[in-house]
């Protein structure tokens, strides 16, 4: 299980969630992905996308406009 970081800063929604989706497609079950974004919409879109696809949301924060959402890729 590996931890990965995706830089989606300065991208407008829905690009952060699209980049997260494409990154997850390349990861192994159990891997974790931290998505960094500056569009506050990512705070809602990425958790919503996780719920839709069954991935586990580990944490999310928005500190002074720096959004970080971490998820764990589901076991298929």
């Amino acid at each position: 299980m590996t931890h990965h970081v995706l830089d989606a800063r300065r991208l407008l929604c829905p690009m952060p969630v699209i980049r997260a989706q494409n990154a997850v497609a390349r990861l192994a079950p159990g891997d974790t992905l931290e998505v960094q974004a500056t569009d506050p919409g990512a705070m809602h879109d990425i958790p919503s996308w996780c719920r839709v696809h069954g991935h586990e949301l580990l944490s999310s924060s928005n500190v002074e406009g720096e959004v970080r959402v971490t998820l764990r890729v589901k076991h298929s």
Binding site: L12, C13, P14, M15, Q21, H44, D45, W49, V52, H53
Partner: protein, 330 residues
């Protein structure tokens, strides 16, 4: 949402596809405008997927979509909206996805007569043909008004339980939504694309005219969504933020453009697109001052920073409202 829900009623496994062209309205405005930030945020496609309990696949088609906007075979609608080409393109992409993922057919929420260009009785077969989907494209909301498709003929869905909605009115859809218990749904199709907006289309047309060719990058079309756009001279344009949110957003572009803001008064950030002379800079500074708190002041100090990062200030008298011709506004 309704079409997918109808398919679920038929016991069909449904997954959603949502295309991102760069011209989508939702999200961007929310991320940029200060006032919009206060509204509850949601991506409508993801929200619908959650309501229906289906998977949703988001697909970035920004690059491929350029050809649809620039060279629409069927032309534009009232503005720069290439709706018929767009529909054919998207259903074509959905067909590719269907084939790659072993799905059997495509469902859309189209209704005959709902839209003036892409949802007419004579253009709906065009979409089916040009997308390559042919009779694997099912429109459950108006299927009874169209020839039976493969899923109907094969008995994968029951044609008798499909619908015959038509026309611009949405009463039958609203009634069906109520039947399913939906009290909240995204805005109807057509209101979700900037290309259907007259003002946005004017700005895009101006961009192409100034460049001398129909070409754009994602950054261009995103910037067209932000701020007031004024072209006081043929060779330069000024983009003036309308609120703090837009100022913050435009700040991200400050290294690529000469930019201005008032230092003696509160005011917006403005970007200059184009090559400017000293006289142009003076005019741009007076315009920038016009849109700040110092608009009634005799003099406003404006800082001007070029793309090399060199800053100088100049004291200017703000332009009066009547000194700005309407024709400058794009």
């Amino acid at each position: 949402m309704l079409a997918a829900r109808v398919m679920q009623d038929h016991g069909v496994w449904v997954e959603g596809i949502n295309f991102y062209t760069g011209f989508c309205i939702e999200g961007h405005t929310q991320a940029i405008r200060s006032e919009a930030r206060e509204r509850p945020k949601r991506n409508n496609a993801l929200w619908v997927a959650e309501q229906l309990g289906i998977k949703l696949h988001l697909i970035d088609v920004i690059e491929e979509y350029k050809d649809v906007v620039i060279n629409p075979k069927h032309g534009y609608g009232a503005n720069l909206n290439p709706c018929l080409d767009c529909k054919g393109f998207m259903v074509g992409k959905a067909r590719e996805w269907m084939e790659a993922n072993q799905f059997d057919f495509i469902v859309t929420g189209e209704v005959i007569g709902q839209r003036p260009m892409s949802q007419r009785r004579d253009t709906m077969p065009v979409v089916a043909r040009e997308s390559g989907a042919f009779d694997r494209l099912l429109r459950p909301l108006c299927a009874k008004l169209l020839p039976p498709t493969l899923p109907e003929r094969e008995g994968w869905v029951d044609r008798d339980r499909l619908f015959d909605f038509n026309g611009r009115g949405r009463k039958p859809q609203i009634a069906l939504a109520a039947q399913y218990g939906f009290t909240d749904y995204a805005q109807p199709a057509g209101g979700c694309c900037f290309l259907t907006n007259a003002q946005y289309s004017r700005k895009l047309a101006d961009l192409w005219e100034t460049r001398g060719e129909k070409r754009y990058e994602l950054e261009d079309i995103v910037l067209l969504k932000v701020g007031r756009h004024l072209r006081p001279r043929p060779h330069f344009k000024l983009i003036v933020a309308r609120d703090e949110g837009e100022t913050n957003f435009l700040l991200g572009f400050r290294r690529q453009y000469t930019h201005l803001y008032a230092t003696s008064h509160t005011g917006p950030l403005a970007l200059i697109e184009g090559d400017v002379s000293e006289d142009d800079l003076e005019l741009a500074a007076r315009l920038t001052a016009r849109f700040g708190k110092g608009r009634e002041a005799a003099q406003v100090t404006v800082a001007i920073t070029d793309q090399a990062g060199r800053t100088h200030t100049r004291d200017v008298s703000p332009l009066t409202a009547d000194a700005i011709p309407e024709t400058w506004y794009l």
